[in-house]
Symmetry: C2
């Protein structure tokens, strides 16, 4: 937990970067990674390395990192595992500060691979080189421009800048979620896939993110505690400390015995630590997600919402059915609907057509336009009986246009209360949802996911703001 341990600037803010294994074959990992750096806005010098070629994509190609005429902060090793050791030795000689080793075929496939890992780690420790990997996707950081995702953008989209950081023990799962986030208009601060984690582990990255000003929420996919550091009390202490500053949402793979077995064969992690982890989750303020989409939902919610000062929820809808289903979900998950004040009800009744139902849910009915939403949303947010508004807007059958986004945006700023949108539909709706996400308005496709996210928000807010501590069955 020394401060040097958590300084990972060589990975996230390198001034000089070499990519070893840049091929002229455009599908090879090294080629894609080098191109990522070229195309990013990175404020760093970048060097391609490949003994067999002289020039690539207009850059002079170096035969070895030893030939590069200045010190290197970061070396990305994108060659097959057999050749890694030699490059590590060159890194030691060159006094490189950090390396990312992409190749797989190490401890996850047996004792020979483990031996190789030990040799690599020994060179790293003795020469003060921090290592991410091996068997890793690496890093994506749209702020500074580090991008070691080795698939092209058409295949694996890159999210815009945002406030959510994401640590994943599974590279493929993490990348798929990143790709999905990008398609939904959700921004990311830092993505780190830590692979076999022979050096940099979940704790290191959490501590780095603790003070990262671009991160206000951290999602973690974890299968087990792998490193020595992770297996000590550090894990508990670090999570407990950080989760009071920034919400940490964890999805744990292998919570059942059979899932655990699958995790063991997949990553070599001994997951007999289910009970330890469960205790950590229980005793800290960590929010536990129960599946991939919930991890993503909770992170969107917690990274972009105001915190509620209570749990009194009002629903506004233009679709009665969705109002009913959302009410059902709220009740099922232990919430009551608030009662709007008389003043709110009387005011809105005086302004609205007689068919509109001013109650909770307030049903603006199918022919509602943006103006009707604006009136209801503002008045209901103003109501002292209301802490949170769930705004259901089914667009397929309505006259609501994109100006609804301005209305929500303005109301958030004015009332500083959480507003959560629930909507589902085809291409028009999906375009609007993306626009909402780009305006950091958390949006969910059905009542269940909406209520799950609201619940996580209330849970976290109540814990942090020092209000009455309530234990929700988040993992039911």
């Amino acid at each position: 937990m020394s401060s040097s341990n958590s300084n990972l600037d060589m990975f996230f803010k390198p001034k000089t970067v070499a990519v070893v294994g840049v091929s002229s074959q455009t599908r090879k990992f090294g080629h894609v990674i080098f191109k990522n750096f070229m195309e990013s806005n990175i404020n760093a010098k970048i060097y391609p390395v490949n003994p067999k070629i002289d020039e690539i994509l207009g850059y002079k190609c170096y035969k070895s990192i030893l030939d590069i005429p200045e010190p290197l902060d970061l070396v990305i090793i994108a060659i097959s595992r057999k050749a890694v050791l030699k490059v590590m030795e060159e890194c030691a000689q060159k006094k490189v500060r950090g390396v990312i080793i992409i190749a797989g075929g190490f401890s996850e496939i047996g004792s020979d691979g483990k031996k190789l890992e030990d040799q690599i780690l020994k060179i790293g420790s003795e020469n003060n080189i921090r290592i991410i990997g091996p068997n890793v996707i690496g890093i994506y950081d749209p702020y500074y421009g580090v991008d070691t995702l080795f698939l092209p953008r058409y295949r694996l989209m890159r999210p815009k800048r945002g406030k959510i950081s994401f640590i994943s023990q599974s590279g493929a799962f993490g990348s798929a979620l990143l790709d999905f986030a990008a398609s939904q208009g959700v921004g990311i601060s830092k993505y780190v896939s830590i692979g076999n984690a022979i050096d940099v582990d979940v704790i290191d990255v959490l501590e780095y993110l603790e003070s990262d000003e671009n991160t206000n929420c951290i999602m973690v996919y974890i299968e087990g505690l792998r490193t020595k550091k992770e297996k000590t009390n550090d894990f508990y202490n670090v999570i407990k400390r950080i989760s009071l500053k920034k919400p940490i949402i964890i999805l744990k793979g292998g919570l059942t015995e059979q899932g655990q077995k699958a995790a063991a064969s997949h990553t070599g992690s001994i997951s007999s630590q289910i009970d330890i982890l469960k205790a950590v989750f229980k005793q800290t303020n960590v929010i536990q997600a129960e599946d991939a989409l919930q991890l993503f939902d909770m992170a969107r919610m917690l990274s972009s919402s105001h915190f509620p000062t209570g749990r009194r929820i009002a629903i506004i809808t233009n679709a009665g059915g969705f109002g009913v289903l959302t009410t059902d979900q709220l009740v099922k998950q232990g919430f009551d609907l608030t009662t709007l004040s008389k003043e709110t009800v009387e005011f809105l009744k005086s302004k609205m057509p007689s068919e509109v139902i001013i109650s909770n849910p307030t049903d603006l009915i199918g022919d509602s336009d943006t103006e009707r939403y604006k009136l209801a949303l503002n008045k209901i947010l103003e109501d002292k009986n209301v802490d949170i508004v769930i705004l259901i807007i089914l667009l397929s059958l309505s006259f609501v246009e994109s100006d609804i986004i301005d209305v929500i945006h303005a109301a958030r700023i004015k009332y500083k209360k959480p507003i959560v949108v629930c909507t589902i539909g085809g291409q028009f709706t999906q375009m609007m949802v993306k626009m909402m996400e780009e305006n950091e308005i958390p949006t969910f496709p059905n009542p269940k996911r909406t209520v799950n996210a609201v619940k996580a928000l209330i849970h976290y807010a109540e814990y942090c703001i020092g209000r009455e501590e309530v234990c929700y069955p988040l993992d039911h």
Copy 2:
């Protein structure tokens, strides 16, 4: 339950259709609906009616339906409620067989509206006119071409032809799900929004769909039993009979007391019938969905999958993490993973790279291409220990291309065992998912939804095929 009751051909297969209230204002419901008929491939004569104009969209416009020179099967009344009664009287005079009344403002807003409904129904009953509505979206049928959805296609997409029919008591919710289905490449047979259901109700439509050759699965959104017929034993008998022929998946809005109240204010339905409905669900083979997306997921699954002859599940993945999470979900929901036969394991081990894990889950690892999937999928489907395959394909970080769809398609035909795909990602993945759906390969974005759908399939198959009846906690 007479056969005449369930013959709704005047709505679904009309030879002559009039739309009353076709306006020259392009956003008016009547205009949009008439245009839908013009643009559909309907094999019927269509007539616009509006006393104030002579021609619309190149069609002669009639002042009244009485001026139309031939008998009418179907009249769509798209005018305000005050004018409906007069048109109903004309329909009686004209001996029209069916009407759809779009306007709201009837029993759902009070006793005046209820009176109007009674008058309309009286005319209908006395003159043998079947009525859908009022307060209704109506019908969408891509086979014959009936389309009364009154929003344009850019806003509310129309699904292609498929095998799922959908009855909804909430028009807005139903239309949003229809729009969503279209965007996902999922086909629909018939969509019916029954609104206030003064005549045609859920039972009538169910009985019509029972013998509809284009429907093999029925989803229903229901808030309460509304009509006299629905409140009798008929509901139980009809559902029990039909659900043995075609799966019926029901989402019930208002399962909690507060949700029930919301439903009552929204539709005027007295939902004190929760207990009756719960008993109906329990005693029939109805599949109960717990939210909107689950309704959609289960319908996709049951309408397009082979039925399993057992519940032994194998997982194939290219992403260890998703394999672990899917295992967790299966175990949580009461399933065991099957054990692959020795022969399968040995055969695949001899053909695959050493890093691949042949087990359950079988992890083809990140660099798997379509060829590796083909080999594993076919061999595992051939295995006598396997009834169902969950195929996890994360595309963002892989070399799998669209030829995977051909592989799955061929394997389904060859082995006649259910294959369910689980994948999530950005635009590339979403395009592939749409292509899979267009090939009727059910696809889900996360382990939880995948397992939920598999569970519904197993439940239905076990009930129907006369195997050991097992009661699953589908509504937990």
